[in-house]
């Protein structure tokens, strides 16, 4: 029996299904292409909507502006997928919810460590990788950089 090399979480290669931005979300994906993470915030009440919106649902007064995120946060929840939802995805991969330091949640995927290294509250940093079609996808890796030999 051959010994499997330890699984290291890596970005997906081009070919995976890609997002189709809407009018409201286009600034998010434009920023991602420039390797910047942005999020909306209401100038009236400071609320961060769960996804791009045209008006603030929390106060219905303020204007929504795009702010640049530091990309820093911690691991809130995760899974490690071994049966891909579609054959274009390479396993294992680790969809995760990241608690951003600005007080919002980012859906992302963890790279740059082994599945066993994932723990609650793990400090993370967003990094961008091209996944084809001129789309750069925000991933998250353990803060302090990837481990040697991770291949990412």
């Amino acid at each position: 029996m051959t010994v499997e090399p330890p699984a290291v979480l890596r970005p997906q290669p081009p070919g995976i299904p890609l997002p189709r931005p809407s009018r409201l979300s286009q600034p998010y994906w434009d920023a991602a292409r420039a390797q910047e993470l942005v999020f909306q915030r209401c100038t009236g009440c400071g609320a961060v909507p769960r996804r791009p919106v045209a008006s603030c649902s929390a106060c219905s007064r303020g204007r929504l502006v795009w702010e640049r995120s530091s990309g820093a946060g911690t691991l809130y929840s995760w899974t490690v997928v071994w049966r891909p939802q579609h054959p274009t995805f390479r396993t294992p991969y680790a969809p995760a919810v990241m608690a951003m330091e600005e007080g919002w949640w980012l859906m992302t995927s963890i790279i740059g460590c082994a599945p066993e290294d994932l723990t609650s509250g793990l400090p993370l940093q967003v990094v961008f990788h091209p996944v084809g079609g001129d789309v750069w996808l925000p991933y998250a890796e353990p803060a302090g950089g990837t481990e040697p030999g991770s291949g990412s």
């Binding site: 997928v81 939802q85 919810v97």
Partner: protein, 394 residues
């Protein structure tokens, strides 16, 4: 004897009876059928179970409402396109209570939908821009919720595996289940099955299959002379925190009045109990939606069968199995009985609840149960719907 009460006078569903229920054959694959044809078979079966004819129907609800109106010659007939499960049943009950209909037909089915077996079932793959490229599918979405419960309360894979094995063993014993005779299963068997989306192993997850079903609701003055014993709606509710599978499922996402997304269904359950004038201790059987093993643990807490955070030990102690204090999903559910997609498997929780209240389940019948709680949805989908059924008229 259970007392029924309501804050606003007469019980809202006092004049509504479930008079007919039916499941078609359920199988991994039903040759010669598509979703509409198997839903039609479900509709006709439910009418036959009630002892009614298509000409008796004055409202039809479901994804195929218009097609059934044509193919069963129901017209002129009120048609309601509603792809949901329990909310559609409540809608039908409200139509009867409001005097808009006296016989309401609901039917659903799924067949010839899942063809590419290299991928997960098409209805499990979200296409929204903020999740699509992360390879999410239903198991992963629900795993993100289960993980939070594990971190907060120490819930274990073994406890989840017990929830799955218990339901799968009900299906193993049920001749009508797609996976009849495939067990019995131990928690160790579940843990030994291949990992799909940690913490969910293959046997922690629902199956996929094909099948149809139907229900018939009637006004109470129509029940005498019908073929089957009527079953009654004691209460219901429906909770959502937004569209399913379009954003990160976050357990602690706050809602109003202190509710959180991870406990979705809590308000609906409280509404249902209040309408019924009863509490969890009055419920004899729970026909709960079982997309993933963890959801049983979660619902034990959300519907008040055990304290918050104690769903894992509660399930591990055998409370949800045969002879337990609250047997759960006694036909095998989506893990073993059937999961045809669309909304057939949602109606099927209620159909099983009706069969329990009639006392006619060939396997898994809970002796003496007078109230059933039925549910659909789950935390990873950000919605949970609840229906309370009774053997006696409220």
């Amino acid at each position: 004897m259970i007392g029924y009460g309501s804050a606003v006078g007469a019980h809202p569903y006092r004049d509504v009876a479930i008079a007919g229920v039916f499941n078609t054959e359920q199988a991994r694959r039903l040759e010669g059928h598509d979703s509409e044809s198997i839903a039609t078979a479900g509709a006709l079966g439910a009418l036959a179970d009630a002892g009614l004819e298509p000409t008796d129907v004055d409202a039809v609800i479901g994804s195929f409402a218009q097609e059934l109106t044509l193919s069963l010659a129901l017209g002129p007939c009120t048609r309601v396109f509603d792809p949901l499960g329990i909310p559609a049943i409540l809608h039908g009950a409200q139509m009867i209570a409001a005097g808009q209909a006296s016989v309401v037909l609901l039917a659903a089915g799924g067949a010839d939908v899942y063809r590419d077996r290299e991928a997960t079932a098409p209805w499990t793959r979200p296409e929204h821009e903020f999740v699509i490229s992360y390879g999410l599918f239903t198991a992963a979405e629900f795993a993100l919720m289960a993980r939070r419960h594990m971190l907060t309360y120490g819930t274990t894979p073994e406890q989840m595996a017990t929830a799955a094995a218990t339901i799968r063993n009900y299906g193993h014993a049920n001749p009508a289940a797609v996976y009849h005779g495939k067990g019995p299963f131990t928690p160790a068997d579940v843990l030994a099955s291949r990992m799909v989306a940690d913490p969910f192993h293959l046997l922690d997850c629902s199956t996929t299959s094909e099948g149809g079903c139907g229900l018939v609701l009637v006004r109470a003055d129509r029940v005498s002379g019908l073929r089957s014993r009527p079953v009654w709606i004691l209460g219901g509710g429906s909770d959502s925190f937004g569209p399913a599978y379009q954003m990160a499922p976050v357990w602690d996402m706050p809602g109003k009045d202190g509710y959180v997304a991870g406990r979705v269904g809590e308000r609906a359950g409280q509404q249902a109990y209040r309408t019924a004038g009863i509490g969890p201790a009055d419920v004899g059987v729970a026909e709960l939606y079982d997309p993933f093993s963890f959801e049983i643990i979660r619902q034990m807490e959300v519907f008040g069968f055990c304290p918050d955070g104690e769903g894992g030990p509660f399930v591990a102690d055998g409370h949800t199995g045969p002879g337990g204090t609250i047997p759960v999903t006694t036909d095998g559910g989506t893990m073993s009985f059937s999961h045809a997609g669309i909304n057939a498997q949602q109606y099927q929780r209620v159909i099983r609840g009706v069969q329990q209240m009639r006392g006619e389940c060939p396997t898994g019948q809970v002796p003496g149960a007078e109230v059933a709680i039925c549910s659909t949805g789950g935390s990873g989908a950000l919605f949970t719907d609840v229906l309370l059924l009774g053997a006696a008229r409220p």
